[in-house]
Structures are given as structure tokens and as C-alpha cells.
């Protein structure tokens, strides 16, 4: 029953999902929306509790066993509890149960998000510029025939994007466009066919209980 019940549930939910895709009638659509918007949110809320529990347990273990860089786990845990406290009692704009304002400065969830989460995310994102340079160096080493082809194609596309070069060689932007529109799109579409069939095959295997990796291979 421990294995059969999840499999039956999976098959049932899969059939409901499929039926809702093909039947536009509002009885079916309303039921499907209710499942997606209500049931899934409830499941997500419960899993979030497990997720937060995992963070606390993971970092608490680290502090307890004094593993490498354990001091930083204090930063994570204090940030987690402080943000939760501000969010729960201060509200989004700092005007909740407890006033999170010092003079004109409102120390609320919105302030934390705009002034801390976004800049920190942007900092990580900006690292891409450096990583792209190092990745491009590795990719453009002409080690074999395929790498040479890649190098030539990339060289043309990059040069065509530079206005003075495009002016000097007027046909270059057209060649670049052809590379992007024809061989590049053809390869992408080929991959998409394979991916779609893969998704179909995996979905069928899961729905019919043939693929049970997600159940731990039971």
C-alpha cells in the first residue's frame, strides 16, 4: 500500500491534468484550477516548513560540531529569524503589530528586499561577465574540428555585432543572421523534438508506474 497508493495518486492526478488540457468546460477547468491554486499551495506551505526546518537543522549541526566556517552559520540563522520576525510582526511596510520604524527609516521586509536581497543577487549575477570571459577562452581553443567550427561561427557573429566592422564588411551581418536563423535554429529544433519525446516518454513511464526513481526506485 505504501508504494501502491502514491502510484495510484500519481496516475489519477496525471489523468486529471491531461483531461483538463483537452476539455475547456468550466466544470473541469474550475476543478483543475482548484487543485493547482489551492491544494498545491497547501502542499507547498507544508513543504516550506520542512525546508526551513532543514536549514535550521543543517546550520545548527554545523555550529554544534564546529565544522569549517561554522561561524557563518550564526549569520544565516540570525538573518533567518530576524527577517521572519520583521515579516511576521512588522508587515510588508513596517506598520504591522510592532512599528519597525526608526525616525523616517522603515526597517521592513520591502526595505530588506530592495536594499539587501536585490543588490546581493545583482552582485552574483554580475559575476557572469567574468565567468563568460573565462568560459569563452576555454571554448575558443581550437582543439578539434568542431571547436574550429564553433570558433569561426562565434567570430563572425561577434564581429557582425560591432558597428564599424559591419560597416566595413556590409555582408557580415547577413552571414551572422543566416548562422543564427538557419544552422542554429535547425539544431535547436532538433533538440526540441528529442526533448518533447523525452518528456512524453518520462511522463508515460511515471504515470504507468514503470519509472519509479522518484519513489526511491521501490
Amino acid at each position: 500500500m505504501k508504494v501502491r497508493f502514491p502510484l495510484i495518486l500519481c496516475l489519477l492526478m496525471g489523468i486529471i491534468g491531461m483531461v483538463a488540457y483537452y476539455i475547456p468546460h468550466r466544470i473541469v477547468q474550475n476543478f483543475d484550477n482548484e487543485l493547482r491554486n489551492t491544494a498545491l499551495r497547501i502542499i507547498f506551505a507544508f513543504s516550506l516548513v520542512l525546508g526551513v526546518g532543514s536549514i535550521i537543522r543543517h546550520h545548527w549541526e554545523k555550529i554544534k560540531r564546529k565544522r569549517e566556517f561554522w561561524e557563518y552559520s550564526y549569520v544565516t540563522l540570525i538573518s533567518l529569524f530576524l527577517t521572519a520576525f520583521i515579516g511576521l510582526f512588522g508587515g510588508i511596510d513596517g506598520k504591522g503589530l510592532i512599528k519597525m520604524q526608526i525616525g523616517k527609516f522603515s526597517f521592513d521586509i520591502h526595505t530588506i528586499y530592495v536594499n539587501m536581497a536585490i543588490p546581493l543577487g545583482a552582485t552574483m549575477f554580475s559575476l557572469l561577465a567574468y565567468f563568460m570571459a573565462s568560459a569563452a577562452y576555454r571554448a575558443f581553443r581550437a582543439r578539434n574540428f568542431e571547436a574550429i567550427l564553433l570558433l569561426i561561427a562565434a567570430f563572425i557573429v561577434m564581429l557582425a555585432s560591432v558597428p564599424p566592422v559591419a560597416r566595413l564588411i556590409p555582408k557580415l551581418p547577413y552571414i551572422s543572421e543566416w548562422i543564427l536563423d538557419v544552422p542554429n535554429t535547425a539544431a535547436k529544433r532538433g533538440m526540441l523534438f528529442g526533448i518533447t519525446l523525452g518528456v512524453l516518454s518520462t511522463s508515460l513511464k511515471i504515470l504507468l508506474g514503470i519509472e519509479r526513481g522518484w519513489l526511491g526506485g521501490k
Binding site: I23, L50, L128, L204, G213, L215, G216
Partner: protein, 357 residues
């Protein structure tokens, strides 16, 4: 006054106003179409008026600009007759069309526009199930996939070096098939790791994926007879923020220096941040994704990359279970069908355009 009379004679109403139930929807919608007025170029647009069988006169329900010849009335009651009129509008002048036919909205039980998708699903589904059934009787040949053949070597390397294996299951939730495929790979990789007694690290971006991944790893350790070796702290939830997750995983790579990194599932812009950091720490890296935009980054920064469909083939390939391998054969025949259809359609298009036309 003169202009008013002039415009009244010049402006013509739209013709042939027709109303009918909007196809393939859940009801409450009527589509109104008309032939644009001959004086369309000088108009402001068209005003749509409606009267139900319960009402005495027409009411304005919408306005569309010049050149438009349809309007979707989304506020109808099902199974009630509605009549429509469309007026050509220029400044304050309105010239009304004839009254349309009566129309009723009603919900449909099948989306006819999706019939071809349903048929394709049955054809490919039949192929896959046929080969799964056939695989029970005869042994099928499956081509070698380098990235998957390297899994054993990668786990062995981690054992020799006494370093952990890092498995990143992508950034999407359980509703994405790529994540399920990634967790299927995790199941097989975790079994090998349990046999070799290597440390496994699985940081998660989604709390639902975290709970499933934890169960999968626990079950994998049990299935190879080593439930005691499972460390519950090896699978943990990090954060659902994209770049905070990338920063967290990068930190793990730099601190723990894993011998092998697996990046399986769906990735976004963080793919290169993860893969490049892994490459700099000297780890063997195996990536598997169906995210076409991120594939080039993985190909450049990883030792092995499973491209698109190979992600979905991985668990069958690793488990070597005949019925799972059968589905791969079905996929290949599906692709063959698509290739044949593409060739036939391209040739027929060429013949039609250049010879017949």
C-alpha cells in the same frame, strides 16, 4: 451642421455582422465578426452593441479601433439568445449595421484545436509502450552515452580522493519533468555512492524537491543494504532565491572541493556561475539539462554534458532495466517518424512551390 449631414452620407456601416459561440472555451463568450466598412479609413472605430432576449433595447458593450473586424463578448450568460449591432463611429456620428443573427454561448467538452496533439500523443505513446513490452522479451541495443558511462568513473574518483560528490537537481519545482528526470538520475547515482561509501551533498532550491530528494537518497541507501550510512544532513534545503542559491552552491564547492559535480535538471542564468566555479575547483563535472539556452555554458565548462533528451534517457541507461530501455527505443522510433515527416513535407512543399505553382 453641414458636416454632420455630409459624414452621415459618407460613413457606411459594417456589413454582414455575424455572432456565434466562441469555439473551444468554457462558455460565456460570443464572437462577433463583420466585414469592415468601405469608409473604414476615415473612421475612429467600431462600437459594439448588444441586446439579450430578455432586454428591450441595445446597450454598448465595447469599442474597437478602425481596421478591426471582430470582437469577443466575454460577459454573456450561457444558453440565452443575444443580438448584436456594430456601429461605424466618426466623432459623434454613429451609423448602425443591421442586427446580427441570434447567438448563444455554451461550454465545449473538447478542444478541437488540440486534436492533432492528442493524436500525436497516442501515436508516440503507442510506440513507447510497444517497445517497453517488447523489451521484456528481447534484449535491445542502446548506444553508448559518454556522460552516463562516466558516472561510475566519477564516483570512483571521489572514492579514491576521499572527497564528496555534489548533486544539484536544477532550479525548477516538481511540476517540471526535467526535475523528475534529475531525481531519477539522483536515485541511481545515490545507489553507486552508497556502495562506494562516498559523502554525498544535495543542496536544494525548492522545498518540495528537497523532501522528495531526501526520500530518494534514503531509499537508495536502503536498497543497496546500507541504511546506516545515510546521513540525513547530506540532502538539505538552501534557498529558493536564484542567485543566493548559486552563491550557496559555489560556497560549498569552494569549501568542500567535491571530486565530482552533477548538474541535472533545468537551469537558468546561474548555470555558468555554477559550472565555472566547479571547473576552477578541479572537479569532474557532468551536466544534464533540457534548457537549450544554458546548454552551451555547460558544454564549455563541464567534462560531460547530456543534451536534452539524454537527460530523460539517463535513469533508464543507468539502471539498465529492460522495460525502461524499451522506452528509449520507442523515443528513437518517434524521432525517426518526425524525420520522415519533415523530409516528406519539405519535398512536397518544394514540389508545390516550384513545379505546380
Amino acid at each position: 451642421m453641414f458636416l454632420f449631414f455630409l459624414f452621415t452620407f459618407v460613413i457606411e456601416p459594417p456589413k454582414n455582422v455575424k455572432a456565434f459561440d466562441n469555439p473551444n472555451d468554457g462558455g460565456n463568450k460570443i464572437l462577433i465578426t463583420w466585414e469592415i466598412s468601405p469608409s473604414d479609413s476615415i473612421l475612429d472605430g467600431y462600437e459594439i452593441l448588444r441586446r439579450s432576449e430578455k432586454e428591450e433595447c441595445f446597450y454598448k458593450i465595447g469599442f474597437v479601433g478602425q481596421g478591426r473586424n471582430s470582437f469577443l463578448d466575454e460577459k454573456t450568460e450561457d444558453k440565452i439568445n443575444y443580438y448584436y449591432q456594430v456601429a461605424s463611429v466618426k466623432d459623434t456620428i454613429k451609423v448602425l449595421s443591421a442586427i446580427s443573427n441570434p447567438a448563444q454561448s455554451y461550454p465545449q467538452w473538447f478542444h478541437r484545436g488540440k486534436l492533432i496533439i492528442l493524436l500525436t500523443f497516442f501515436v508516440f505513446g503507442f510506440l513507447i509502450l510497444y517497445f517497453i513490452k517488447r523489451a521484456r522479451k528481447i534484449e535491445l541495443f542502446i548506444r553508448r552515452i559518454a556522460g552516463l558511462s562516466a558516472v561510475e568513473e566519477a564516483v570512483g574518483r571521489a572514492t579514491e580522493m576521499g572527497k564528496p560528490v555534489l548533486f544539484v537537481p536544477g532550479l525548477t519545482g516538481m511540476s517540471d519533468v526535467a526535475t523528475i528526470a534529475a531525481l531519477n538520475i539522483l536515485s541511481e547515482v545515490a545507489k553507486k555512492i552508497a556502495q562506494y561509501d562516498v559523502k554525498l551533498i544535495v543542496p536544494n532550491n525548492d522545498p518540495i524537491v528537497y523532501t522528495v530528494a531526501r526520500e530518494i537518497v534514503k531509499e537508495a541507501y536502503t536498497s543497496v543494504g546500507r541504511p546506516d550510512a545515510f546521513n540525513p544532513d547530506s540532502v538539505f534545503y538552501l534557498t529558493d532565491s536564484q542567485f543566493a542559491y548559486a552563491a550557496g552552491v559555489d560556497g560549498i564547492m569552494v569549501r568542500e572541493k567535491p571530486a565530482t559535480n552533477f548538474f541535472c535538471g533545468y537551469f537558468y542564468a546561474e548555470s555558468l556561475i555554477l559550472a565555472e566555479t566547479g571547473a576552477q575547483t578541479g572537479a569532474i563535472q557532468i551536466a544534464a539539462t533540457d534548457s537549450i539556452t544554458q546548454l552551451p555554458f555547460f558544454i564549455v565548462a563541464c567534462d560531460y554534458t547530456l543534451i536534452g533528451e539524454e537527460l530523460y534517457a539517463a535513469s533508464a541507461y543507468l539502471s539498465k532495466e529492460p522495460i525502461l530501455l524499451g522506452s528509449l527505443k520507442g523515443q528513437d522510433y518517434g524521432k525517426l517518424l518526425i524525420i520522415i515527416a519533415l523530409i516528406l513535407l519539405s519535398v512536397s512543399s518544394l514540389i508545390f512551390n516550384f513545379i505546380i505553382k
